[in-house]
Symmetry: C2
DNA sequence: TTATATTTTGCAAACGTTCCCGAAACGGAG
DNA sequence: CTCCGTTTCGGGAACGTTTGCAAAATATAA
């Protein structure tokens, strides 16, 4: 049998209420008794019963991390797994723990996230994976009364914060980098059109292009799917329709890598024949061949910040928007003219 | 106020005990009352209070996933993040949930894992990350009385199962593949000597070498550190001391990639000048340039199996060892003679 | 019909906390 | 020494379940 507060009370000749107060540092207990309680608690190896605490407090110190199941295959947005440990560590500092939920984007039914929260009385949630625009989960989140932090989105309510990289800026930086290195015929392989991030990255792309008064043909812009094989298909289509192209911006690293390895087989070399820049800054970028230029998202910073934002909400703060600036990793995949 | 079992009882003119039994499908309640209880529960939107359940049952339906914090940087063993969703999904089927703990391998103090389990009354743990041999956590695990599944290790007790790929076989397969393609001067860049997996992969390497009666010089075997930059350093050292070498087996993909990208800068091409095979089968392998031959570990299978093993233990089963066979991904990084 | 066996239900304790409220102890002022 | 204000403490309800045991209801057998 585990030792409880009652055992301590017995050994100290105190009531359970006093012991509880002593243990929790509440005001109103003599410091002498507090220390003796602490001592006995330690002697007996007391471990508080969290279930009991949760029962009376109706709170759980548990926060949910919502993963889009389609990320499970490691194809889409592997970057998210890189920030998990950082979320976790930050929460742990305040004695919160993360509990993982994978939800299937396609079979999602209204209220699912509410049920998840209610069942375990979660203190809050971090929605970590990207869902397509207008996905019903966003409706649920908007009407929810629990602290939520949504990544890579712009949902903002009294009790819902969001954090994301400045995707427009990211798209701009990548394109600008190509332009600054003398490229004029530039292609863009984006993700699906119904993802917010795709549109924002596109916006940045356009901004840089217009700024430089370049002409980009419609066939130089492809809406793909963020997967490696998508990148492969797109690059060939792109080259075929735009033989003069000298550089391509891929809206994520995976597509870029798929394209590069596929081109190598056809004898097209990067960056000699064509320059490539990706997006995400996966840690393998720097070990890629050639090291892949990429817009790097600071996952550690996002993870930490997301956890902090959630804790703020839990402690009564109100929703806010945080943008983190992406950085450029130059790699060696862009040729300088 | 949330609706409780009591509200249902009131509305049904029943006692809470009957309602509880009806809800839990226990024997001894008339099917008519059961259906009416179910109906009312649904009407009222009843959600069971898990804290209360846990309090009386002294069990939690929560299982801990123990991550070695040093994996957090994404450098060491990124493969582990690939199996997280699979563990999670399998557990979810049985209404168990995973809660993530990162523990710092270096500052670990005896009993830490015990505390983790006790605090939340975890039903069990999956220790997912590799710790060095003789790490104190293994002592704790051996003396623990809770269900545990350890990955990539061979700790086995009444209540502790382990699951791992056949590393000896993996090392053998990789080496054999090089030999079968006509390579005779083969190098091996391994991980640190105080990791079980390093030694097992080495054993497989040796086995294949001896079987083929090849002579390998001592300088062709390097004990590195499983990181990209480690791979880079090792390959240069290796080539310098063994100019005639035609193929290198890296004990993980990260080192292999670090080596390949670094060699490219020196004009050494893979597989034309030197052949490379890695280990882990990271999903980026197939998009690497060139697609990287690798011993692929089936993370999905391991994740699912690990969860199943744990559930077995929780349900009273006893510890067992499961080995899964690695597969070979041929890629295009090994030249055939 | 009565007696008995079986099924179905209710009562109440228990799980380990927190917290409100009142009682006891203590301190200082008069 | 008395009185009153503080500080410290204890009693007990409450949180929402499960479960052993007894009571009630129902079915079965004679």
């Amino acid at each position: 049998m585990r030792v409880s507060i009652k055992d301590i009370a017995l050994k100290c000749n105190l009531s359970v209420s006093t012991v509880s107060r002593a243990l929790n540092g509440d005001y109103g207990v003599k410091s002498a008794t507090r220390t003796s309680v602490m001592k006995v608690a330690k002697e007996l190896g007391y471990v508080p019963n969290i279930a009991a605490k949760e029962l009376v407090s109706q709170k759980s110190k548990l926060i949910g991390i919502i993963l889009n199941e389609s990320d499970g295959d490691g194809e889409a947005r592997p970057a998210f797994f890189e920030l998990l440990p950082h979320i976790n560590k930050t929460l742990a500092i305040f004695n919160y723990r993360a509990i993982i939920y994978t939800i299937n984007s396609n079979s999602y039914i209204r209220g699912e996230i509410t049920d998840i929260i209610n069942l375990r009385n979660l203190s809050g949630c971090i929605v970590v994976s990207v869902f397509r625009e207008n996905h019903p989960i966003y409706e649920d989140i908007k009407s929810l009364n629990n602290p939520i932090v949504v990544l890579e989105s712009s949902i903002l309510t009294r009790i819902c914060s969001n954090i994301n990289t400045d995707e427009v800026m990211g798209g701009y930086m990548a394109t600008r980098y190509l332009i600054d290195n003398g490229h004029k015929q530039i292609g863009f392989v984006n993700g699906p059109q119904n993802f917010e991030i795709s549109n924002e990255r596109f916006e940045g792309f356009q901004k840089a292009i217009e700024e430089s008064q370049l002409q980009i043909s419609d066939t130089a812009i492809i809406w793909s799917n963020y997967t490696g094989s998508g990148g492969k298909d797109s690059i060939h289509q792109l080259i075929q329709n735009n033989p003069a192209i000298t550089a391509v911006f891929f809206a994520n690293d995976l597509m870029a890598m798929g394209a590069i390895s596929s081109m190598a087989e056809s004898g097209i070399l990067v960056p000699k024949d064509i320059s490539i820049i990706g997006y995400d800054g996966l840690f393998v970028c720097k070990y890629y061949n050639p090291p892949l230029a990429s817009v790097v998202i600071d996952n550690a910073a996002i993870g930490v910040r997301a956890a902090e934002l959630l804790l703020e909400l839990i402690n009564g703060g109100s929703g806010k928007t945080v943008r983190v600036m992406p950085k450029l990793f130059e790699g060696k995949s862009v040729r300088k003219y």
